[in-house]
């Protein structure tokens, strides 16, 4: 088991290197001289060239990349151009807010969306199914930030039930979380429904029916166990999308998270901050996907046998 997890973690390394290399290359295209940005307009040419030397900006691109990665591995993502403080501190301070939003969004969406999707599939083409499909279809077309604005208008500005912005109290998280959850729920419903429909058509479902198992039990005992595996994977993939959604949502509700951090850093041309945040988010997403993958392989007997020798077949 531990060996399997370790092997999967190792296999992530090339992907992480790939991601960081691409982001590093893109951001290296930024016009303007970092030394100039840090020192401001009044700096003398000598001071700028001294700082450039000091920052290693004259080295080859690939040398700078390796140096960056070497630093990042030790937790050193450089200094913010704006505050001259370590990037990592700011990142870690902001991360919890974004994680709370994304986790809450995915969690709620899964808890509500998966059952609805199952019912919709089982009752295919009935009124419930059609209503669910229309709801899901409309909801997938609504951008998270617009939904956020509408909810804010209705529940914060008009009804005054919750605060409109800020993360000072837990109530501030209600609207952004709900916003994210609703959008994600639509994805969950659609995906659960189509997975379930596929499973229902499998031969072993027919076998179960031919045994005399009731339709209800066939769904609960035979179909669900098989459908849950792909559903878990999708929840993992969705988490990635959710991080993106959370970032935009933070802006709507002025929540100090990674999203607002990245966006203000882009505006202020604070490249080290942008780089670290983007890599950080991408990394989080890969880790979550990996975790879901592990859950998947633990629950699917076909994969489990190959990977978890101990316990094995007669567990």
């Amino acid at each position: 088991m531990a060996r399997f997890v370790f092997r999967r973690l190792l296999s992530m390394i090339p992907v992480i290197i790939g991601i960081s290399f691409i982001i590093f290359s893109i951001l290296a295209l930024t016009p303007g001289d970092p030394a100039q940005i840090i020192l401001g307009d009044g700096a003398t040419p000598e001071a700028i060239s001294e700082l450039r030397e000091q920052m290693g900006l004259n080295d080859f691109f690939i040398v700078r990349y390796i140096r960056y990665i070497a630093g990042a591995v030790r937790g050193d993502f450089g200094l913010s151009y704006r505050t001259q403080l370590p990037v990592l501190n700011e990142l870690l301070a902001r991360l919890p807010n974004t994680l709370v939003l994304a986790l809450f969004g995915v969690g709620c969406a899964a808890m509500v969306g998966v059952p609805i999707g199952i019912i919709s599939a089982v009752k295919q083409y009935t009124l419930i199914d059609n209503a669910t499909r229309v709801f899901a279809m409309v909801m997938t077309a609504i951008p998270a930030f617009w939904l956020g604005l509408m909810l804010m208008l209705a529940f914060a500005l008009k009804l005054r039930l919750v605060p409109a912005i800020g993360a000072d109290t837990w109530e501030g998280f209600i609207l952004p979380s709900v916003t994210l959850a609703i959008g994600n729920m639509a994805v969950m419903i659609r995906m659960t429904r189509s997975t379930m429909l596929e499973v229902i058509r499998e031969d072993y479902i027919r076998t179960a029916l031919a045994k005399g198992v009731s339709r209800r039990k066939v769904i609960l005992r035979h179909a669900l166990a098989n459908a849950l595996l792909p559903i878990v994977t999708t929840i993992g993939i969705n988490f990635g999308l959710q991080m993106g959604g959370a970032m935009i949502c933070e802006t709507v509700f002025s929540i100090p998270g990674l999203g607002t951090l990245i966006i203000t850093s882009v505006r202020q041309k604070d490249i080290p901050m942008v780089m670290a945040s983007v890599i950080f988010v991408a990394l989080t997403i890969s880790l979550v996907t990996l975790a879901m993958d592990l859950i998947y392989s633990f629950f699917d007997p076909r994969v489990r046998m190959q990977n978890f020798r101990k316990g094995g077949a007669r567990a």
Binding site: V15, G18, I23, L157, G244, I248, V278, A282
Partner: protein, 289 residues
């Protein structure tokens, strides 16, 4: 006429027959047609400069009326005119993005699929990595490096669109490569690029169009999201996302300011999703659910 072309023709006919049977798909198609028509002809019946761009402080923040269907914004600009021209921008950026992604993705996918080997493998690994970066992060990074504006936005969206098309084209090339009619064409001495153009790509059109509609819907969502946070179109441009961003501080007393641009986004995205779903079902009736 080649066999592939003949097959293609009758296949498209039956796809259309199946597509037509679905009311919901037709609804999507007519929604998109309406959007294209209105935004395409907008220049004829709306004066872009005076209605959508120029400030007119005497008429600011007027609620919807017969004169201004969707009201006016904080600078007295006609919201209806801006929403209509916004459709132009979204659709234009969307179409350009897809064309570019498809072109680049097809080349990469065809090479990887048709020739395979080490080059193909390397290309697909690169696509893997690109695919693992969420589109919005990729777009933000590119905008951070190159600055905002329509051109950079198109680049940003294209980069994240390429891998999916590359995947589709590659898998189709792989499945078709060994089929008989391609073998036959090879035996007749057709060149590789000719085989790709005449035989492989026509068969790939179905899945590509489905992906294109999804991709365009995502592009429209992404453009407006980026503009909303100030990393897309400059705020004077009548783009749906920037309009919403401007409207945020006035929405309490002028809710129509956020209502109409948002509904425009939903309409466009939904139209494309409906067409995509309908097409996917029509292409493969077995998958219909």
């Amino acid at each position: 006429m080649s066999e592939a072309a003949v097959r293609g023709k009758s296949q498209w006919k039956s796809v259309w027959i199946r597509f037509r049977k679905s009311t919901i798909s037709l609804m999507g198609l007519s929604m998109l047609a309406a959007l294209l028509l209105i935004s395409g002809s907008a220049g004829i019946w709306i004066d872009y400069e005076s209605q959508a761009i120029q400030h007119n402080m005497k008429q600011r923040l007027q609620h919807p009326s017969a004169e201004h269907f969707f009201g006016t914004d904080q600078f007295g600009r006609d919201v209806f005119a801006r929403v209509v021209f916004g459709a132009r921008i979204s659709l234009l950026v969307g179409i350009l993005t897809i064309t570019l992604s498809l072109a680049i993705g097809s080349v990469i996918g065809s090479i990887a699929g048709y020739y395979g080997g080490r080059v193909g493998n390397l290309l697909m690994r690169m696509m893997d990595v690109l695919l693992s970066i969420p589109a919005i992060l990729m777009a933000i990074s590119i905008v951070a490096a190159l600055g905002n504006g329509m051109f950079n936005l198109i680049i940003a969206l294209t980069v994240s669109g390429v891998p999916r098309f590359a995947y589709i084209v590659r898998s189709i090339v792989l499945t078709i490569k060994n089929q008989e009619f391609v073998e036959a064409a090879k035996a007749y001495g057709s060149s590789n690029s000719r085989i790709i153009l005449r035989h492989v790509l026509p068969n790939a059109i179905g899945p590509i169009v489905v992906q294109a509609t999804t991709n365009m819907a995502n592009s429209i969502l992404l453009i407006s999201s980026l503009s909303f946070v100030g990393l897309g179109m400059p705020s004077s441009t009548p783009e749906w996302g920037s309009m919403l961003s401007d409207a945020k501080q006035y929405m309490r007393h002028n809710p129509y300011l956020i209502l109409f641009p948002g509904m425009a986004i939903v309409t466009a995205v939904m139209a494309l999703n409906l067409i995509g779903d309908g097409l996917r079902d029509a292409l493969d009736p077995k998958l219909r659910n």
